[in-house]
Structures are given as C-alpha cells and as structure tokens.
C-alpha cells in the first residue's frame, strides 16, 4: 500500500505534463507559458516534498502519500481545466488531498484552526470560480468572481487573514507545498485567463496601492512576529503582494497606447516570472528547513527554539541556503529578482517627470517592505541556526534525530537554488523570447556573469578555506565558565529595539499583527449581529420576534426593489471598476 501510494505521489507530479495536449494547452510558451511554468515547477519542487514527507515524522505514511497525490492531481487538474466544470472539482480535490495529509498528525487547536482556514479559503474561492464558469464569457460579474477567487486563494492583501492561521498548525511539508507550489496556481491563472481590459484603469490604480500596503505590512509583521511558521507566512504574503503588484502593473500598462509604458508592462511580466521562481524555490526551502527545526524543538516560539539548528543534525550550510537567497547574496535567485526590480526602478527614474513622479515614490517605498522581509529571514536564520541552544532544549531533544531523507530533500533543493540563478539569467539574456530591449538583455547578461563568478567564488571559499582552518578552540572564560547558552541571544533582541519606532502601529508586543487582529474582530462582529439583536429583547417576547422578522423581510424586499428599478445604474457603478 505504501509503495503504491508513493508511486501515485510521484505519478501525480509527472503525468499531468503528458496531458497538456489533451486539455487544449500545449508547450507553446507564447500561448501557455503560465500553465507550463506552473506544472513544471510543481513537478520539480514536488520531488523535494516527496523526499521530505518520507523523512517526516507521521504515523500514517501511506495516507500522507495518497493525500499528496490527490493534492497535486487537484492542482494539475486546475491548471489544465480551463473555464470548465472540472475546475472547481479539481480545486476542491487539492483541499481534500491536504485533509488526508493532515490526518497523519494528531489534531490540536492549531491544526484544527489550520484546516478550517484552508477549507474556508478554498471553499469560498471554489464557489466564486463556479460562478465565473456558469456566467457567460466576458460577463462583468463573472470576471469579478474570478478575480475574487484568485485574490482570496493567493492571500492577497485584506484577503490574507486565513493564511497565517493555515501555516501555524500545518504539517511542515504541507506548509511548503501551500506556500511554494499551490500559491502559484491563482497567480498564473490570472496571467493566463484574466484579460487586461476586464478591469478599468481606475480599478488597477486602486489595486496597486493595496498590493503595496500588503508588501509593507507583510514585511513588517514577518520581522516582528515571534512564531516561526507565521514569520514565513507573512513573508509569503509580502512576496505574493509584490507578485500581484507586478501583474496589475503589467495588465494596466500593456493595454495602453504609449509604447514606453507597454514596454514597462512587459518588463513587469518578466519580473513577475523571475520573482515567482525565486519565491517558489526559496520559500519551499525555508518552510522545509525552519518547519523541520520547529518540529525538532516542538515549539512555534522563535525565542524558545534558538540554536536548535546546532543540534538538529542538519549540515550547517544546508540550513542557510534559502536565507542566502532571501537576503539577496550575489549569485542567488533573490539577487536576480531584486536586481531586476532595481534596474526597472532606475529606468523609471529616467522617464519624463510627469510619469516618474507618480510611480517612483511608491516603488521606492515598496523597497522598505522588501528589505524588512529579507531581514525577517536573517533573523530566523541567525537565531535558529547560529545562536547557542539553551540547556533545556538540548536535554529535551537529545533522543531525537533528523531523518536522512530530510537532508536529501534539502540537498536536492539546494542544488536547484544553486543552478537556477545561472540558468534563469542565462535564458533571459541569451533567449530571443525575452529579448524585448537591448538594455534589458545587457542587464541580464551582467546578472548572469555575476551569478557565475559568485558561485565559483563561494565554492572556492568554502572548500578552499583560504582564510584559515579551525584547528584549536579556546574558551574565553569570563570567570564563571560560561559556554554560550547562558549568554546567547534570542530573536526578540533583534526585533524589539525597532518595535517602538517602526512596529508600534503595526504589531502588538507579542508579535501579532494589529491590523489582522482588528480586521478579524470586525468580521466576527458582523457574524455576531444576530446575537446583539437577540440580546436587545427579552426571551419569549413574540411581538418583538415578529417585528424583527418583518423588518428583515421588508429590508430584503427593499434591496430587491432597488436592484430591480435601478439595475442599469447599479451595474454602471460596477462598470466604473470592471
């Protein structure tokens, strides 16, 4: 049974690639690049999830493998279904697969909350998608439903409330799959199916700042959060909003008449693909590494788990690969992505003043969110991997060890992280497909050269050890024979000095997001409206009940009448935006 379910798991990653022709999609990149990219990324990254799930601690291994095969089948089906009835079916199949993965671990409050979050988001977005499918092509309302479904499923700003809760209790491999693989689906579907003219210029101009706010809030909250999984979840929100920003700018400018802005639209699409690749590979890595360290310490608290990387039995260098990409070291995927963004902004600076004055400040402010996001990853790596663990943690984990399959999974991903920047910058500089501007090609060639040289440099440094080799260690005894654990610092020491100046309006002292907490309370209050209403009357007062029900009925009728008589004008309100 175990072998069969694992074979199914691997099959679910590879077989969909052979069904592209059957579904009407094909390998023609100019037509179906989003679908090809989604399926290929899923197949490549899915192998790391496969290896990790073998090594992950669970009491129902075959159930997990079966769950993942359904999960990936669901995602593949969603890519290939197009606008058909199969889409909501496959959409929900992936959630069902995730449920099977969850059953392999013992349920507690966090895990229950996690799966409820997944089902609320997946269910609501599935319903929206069904509405899009049943409405005629190019119907305004149908387009709205499609957009809502994709925004919700990808945890776009304001729609993201379910996302941190999802990761807080999810199994590590599932978290990596959600953040590194599943989140690509709505974004790539938007590129493939959503026509630029379906939203008006005004609507795009509203969505862009919302995405910008998401970048900033995601970055700040990731930096101040004290929960390992939530740090990565908010970092995902920050990156997803950046991806949406690229997409909205692409769709906004591509429909314009000015050649210069159409060109910028195209570059933003390229930036989207580069950043998506960076996010998928690097974030999968981060979730697998730090999720494993979280499981090893058996605590979500970043302060409690300080230094767990030193005792988890994973090679030191492997713990840092994802972080090195997020802190933008030359030669990493993060470097290729952010350097391209900087290049784009530098081109915007040279636009004529009317345009650049509007665009430039916003672009630069987004850098703050991105910088904070990368610092959040530094904070994770420095304290979890480099700090010295407490004696209590060492004692608690002395019987534990990390499976070799977890190391295999990380080695596989680290090879991907090493070669992808070179391949990506090479393809972008030498391929004619992306050759839309000589300056841009030259820029990618620069990135390619620097990536190659940097990787040679790192390899020579690490294996040559030119600085020196450690031969003798000496303890600097301060008088009490301290060995480090008493003095090593937790993550809060890094973030707390900034809280009063930068985080006081966005985060609470315990690291939770102020905005998210406020929004959740408001949403819950809407659901509690009936409760408030009932509390106003004495129990058993029939006349009051009748009055309330009559009022509700009349209000409903009133709304229907308004829509009936002012149908055209009400749709006109919508057509301002759509």
């Amino acid at each position: 049974m175990l072998v069969l379910s694992r074979a199914l798991f691997l099959g679910s990653l590879v077989i969909p690639l052979f069904f592209m022709g059957e579904s009407g999609a094909n390998w023609n990149l100019s037509q179906h690049l989003p679908l090809v990219m989604g399926l290929v990324l899923q197949a490549i990254l899915g192998i790391s999830i496969f290896l990790f799930s073998i090594g992950e601690d669970s009491h129902r291994k075959s159930g997990v493998a079966l769950g993942y095969s359904l999960f990936f089948m669901g995602l593949s089906g969603s890519y290939l279904s197009g606008k058909s009835l199969y889409l909501p079916f496959f959409w929900e199949l992936s959630s069902l697969g995730a449920f099977l993965v969850y059953t392999s671990i013992h349920f507690n409050f966090a895990k229950t909350k996690s799966i409820i979050s997944l089902y609320i988001a997946s269910g609501a977005s599935g319903i929206f998608l069904a509405c899009w499918i049943f409405l005629p092509d190019n119907h305004v309302v149908g387009n709205i439903f499609l957009l809502l479904a994709l925004l919700l499923k990808s945890a776009f700003s304001i729609f993201h409330l379910w996302y941190p809760d999802l990761h807080e209790g999810a199994p590590t491999s599932a978290s990596a799959s959600f953040s590194g693989i599943a989140i690509n689906l709505p974004l790539l579907m938007f590129v493939q199916y959503f026509q630029p003219e379906w939203l008006t210029v005004l609507a795009y101009k509203i969505m862009v700042p919302i995405a910008g706010i998401g970048i900033f809030l995601g970055g700040v909250t990731a930096f101040f959060s004290k929960d390992i999984k939530k740090i990565l979840a908010y970092s995902t929100i920050e990156k997803v909003n950046f991806l949406w920003l690229c997409l909205f700018l692409y769709k906004l400018w591509i429909q314009g008449m000015e050649t210069e802005m159409v060109f910028f639209g195209k570059i933003f699409l390229i930036l989207f693909y580069v950043t998506l690749l960076h996010h998928s590979v690097s974030k999968s890595y981060q979730f697998l590494v730090f999720g494993h360290l979280r499981d090893f310490a058996d605590s979500n608290s970043i302060d409690y788990a300080k230094g767990v990387g030193r005792i988890a039995g994973i090679p030191f260098l492997l713990l840092g690969f994802g972080t090195f990409s997020f802190v933008l070291l030359p030669g990493t995927l993060g470097f290729v992505s952010e350097a391209t963004y900087l290049y784009l902004i530098s081109r915007v600076v040279d636009l004529d003043s009317g345009k650049s004055i509007v665009i430039l400040p916003a672009m630069v402010i987004f850098i703050i969110g991105l910088a904070l996001g990368s610092m959040a990853h530094s904070r994770l790596f420095l304290t979890l991997s480099l700090s010295v663990p407490s004696d209590e943690l060492v004692k608690k984990t002395e019987q534990k060890s990390s499976s070799i399959y977890i190391t295999y999974s990380l080695v596989y991903l680290s090879i991907l992280l090493t070669i992808t920047p070179i391949l990506l910058s090479g393809v972008l500089s030498f391929s004619g497909y992306f050759n839309i501007d000589p300056g841009l090609s030259k820029w990618f060639l620069t990135l390619f050269n620097i990536s190659v040289l940097s990787l040679i440099f790192y390899f020579v440094m690490i294996y040559g050890k030119f600085s020196h080799r450690i031969e003798k260690r000496v303890l600097w005894d301060c008088g009490n024979n301290y060995r480090g654990s008493e003095l090593s610092i937790p993550a809060s020491v890094i973030s707390e000095p900034l809280h009063d100046s930068l985080g006081i309006t966005t985060n609470m002292q315990d690291g939770e997001s102020n905005f998210d907490s406020w929004l959740k309370i408001k949403i819950l209050n809407i659901f509690k409206l009936g409760k408030v209403w009932i509390s106003e009357v004495e129990s058993g007062d029939i006349s009051n009940y009748i009055a309330f029900s009559s009022t509700s009925l009349l209000l409903t009728l009133l709304v229907l009448v308004i829509f009936k008589f002012y149908k055209d004008s009400s749709w006109n309100i919508l057509t301002i935006l759509f």
Binding site: V364, L382, L386, F466, P497, D500
Partner: protein, 290 residues
C-alpha cells in the same frame, strides 16, 4: 588618453585605501590636540595582524572560517566597481548584503552576548539605512543632472548630505557607531568583531578601510557626474577622476574632524533620523526631477 586614464585609476585603486583611513585618524587626533599615528598606520596594523594565526572560540564554525576573507574580497569588488565603473552601481547593495550576512553570521556564531548585541544593532542600522542607500544609488545610476547654478548646487549639496547620513551608518561612524570606544553601550561594529583575532581581524579591518574608500569616492563621483559642468571636456576623464579623488580626501578630512567632535546618539533616535532622511530624500528627489 583612455589608457592613461585607466593607468591613473589603477594607481588610485591600489594606493587610495591604504591611506584614506589613516587621514581620518590623523585629523581626528589633530582635532583633539594629539599627534596621532601616521597615515599608513592602518596598513601596518593590517600586516601585523595578518601574520598571526587567529584563535577560535568553542562555537566557531563555517562563518569563522569563511566570512573574513569573503568580506575582504567582496569589499575589493565594490571598490573596483566604484573605481573602474566596470558594471552598474546597482550591483553594490548586493555585495554589501554579502558583507553584512558574513559579519552577522560571524558575530552570532561565536555565541557571545556581545556578538548578539552587535548583530541586533547592525540589523537595525541595516533596515534603516538600506532604503536611503538604494534610493541614492538609483539617483546616481540615472541620467538626472542638476544645473551648475546656485539652486542646482544647493539641491545637489542637500542630496549629498542625505546620502552621507546613510554612508555614516554603513561605515560605522558617529552618530550611529563609535569605533573609538569599547563600551557595550556604544559598540556596533566593534562588538561584532570582539571575538576576531589575528588574520581574521586583519581581513575585517582591511574590508572596513576598503568600504570607507568606496563610499567616499562614490559620494564624490555622484556629486561630480550629475552636474551640468562636464569635466570630461578637459583631458578626457583624467580631470574628472582627479576631482573625485581630491574631493574624497577632503571628505576624509571632514570625517576625521566630525569623528573628533561628535558622539554616538542613543538608539531610539536612529530609526527616527533615518526615517526623516528617507522622506527628505524622497521629496528632494521629486523636486530635482521636476
């Protein structure tokens, strides 16, 4: 003329970092009525330390072995970009990120409270200074020109002043850091290097000198290349480079005097002044663009 220019640049490339930090130390000492060390003292210190084997702590590992030379070599790369302009200066923040990651890793890996304290402060400075630095480099990369008139000069000076704030944070100078002290209340850069010794310390100190040279020359280059007055009409680029490097020496003199006369400010002040500088630069950049 072009080859002569490259030859002169190569001389600058080799010699400049050797004495620029020494000038700062000399001026600082003179400002405090002391004789001070010679301008080549940093070079002597580097050579003396380089000959000694480092001592490693019980927690030292990957970063202790690789960070020092990686920082040193990446500083040479940044210095070469600034000197020869062989690639876009937008690449510089990424090599600075490499240096930062290496020094943070080294400090945290030792597992001491000083290393942790320095790491925390360095990250705070990085978060605050990075946006200013990137914005300044974006402007430096652009084709923006300020007029060679009073208004243009005023705007340019204000811009360079704001850029200088980020540079002071990057090169560990007051009011953000105070390399003269070894007090836990004031240290940032020094706190991270407390466990470094011998050759390891030599590489870190050498990298710091290269970083100072890179930023001072970069600041002058931005200032000179973005004015309407074209230095290249006289002797190709030689006059322009001469102006840049003489200007950088003047900046080093100013920095020595500044270091002697100022102190490190308290930490809660840092994010506020950096935030204000960022907004100021944003408004100023917009005004220059208009």
């Amino acid at each position: 003329m072009e080859y002569l220019n490259y030859f002169i640049l190569s001389i600058y490339f080799v010699l400049f970092p050797l004495f620029l930090g020494g000038i700062i130390r000399k001026v600082r000492a003179r400002s405090q009525s002391r004789r001070g060390p010679g301008v080549l003292q940093n070079l002597y210190d580097f050579l003396r330390l380089w000959q000694k084997n480092p001592i490693d702590g019980p927690n030292s590992a990957l970063f202790a072995e690789n960070a020092p030379i990686t920082i040193f070599l990446s500083s040479i790369i940044v210095w070469s970009i600034v000197t020869f302009e062989w690639t876009s200066i937008l690449i510089i923040p990424f090599f600075l990120a490499l240096q930062r990651m290496c020094i943070l890793g080294f400090a945290m890996e030792t597992g001491t409270s000083f290393g942790g304290l320095g790491t925390s402060r360095e990250l705070l400075l990085a978060i605050c200074s990075e946006p200013i630095l990137i914005m300044s480099l974006l402007v430096a990369q652009s084709k923006l020109q300020v007029g060679f008139n009073w208004l243009g000069i005023l705007m340019g000076m204000l811009f360079l002043g704001a850029f200088m704030v980020a540079i002071l944070a990057e090169i560990a100078k007051p009011p953000f850091d105070d390399p003269r002290t070894h007090l836990e209340l004031t240290m940032v850069h020094e706190a991270m290097l407390l466990e470094a010794s011998g050759r390891t310390l030599a590489y870190f100190e050498g990298a710091a000198q290269l970083k100072i040279a890179s930023f001072l020359v970069l600041l002058m280059r931005v200032g000179i290349e973005h004015t309407n007055f074209d230095f290249r009409i006289l002797f190709g680029g030689i006059l322009e480079n001469l102006a840049v490097y003489i200007g950088a020496i003047f900046l080093a003199v100013f920095l020595g005097y500044w270091e002697a006369r100022s102190v490190r400010r308290k930490w809660i002040w840092v994010p506020e002044i950096m935030g204000m500088t960022f907004l100021f630069l944003l408004v100023l950049g917009t005004l220059i663009k208009i």
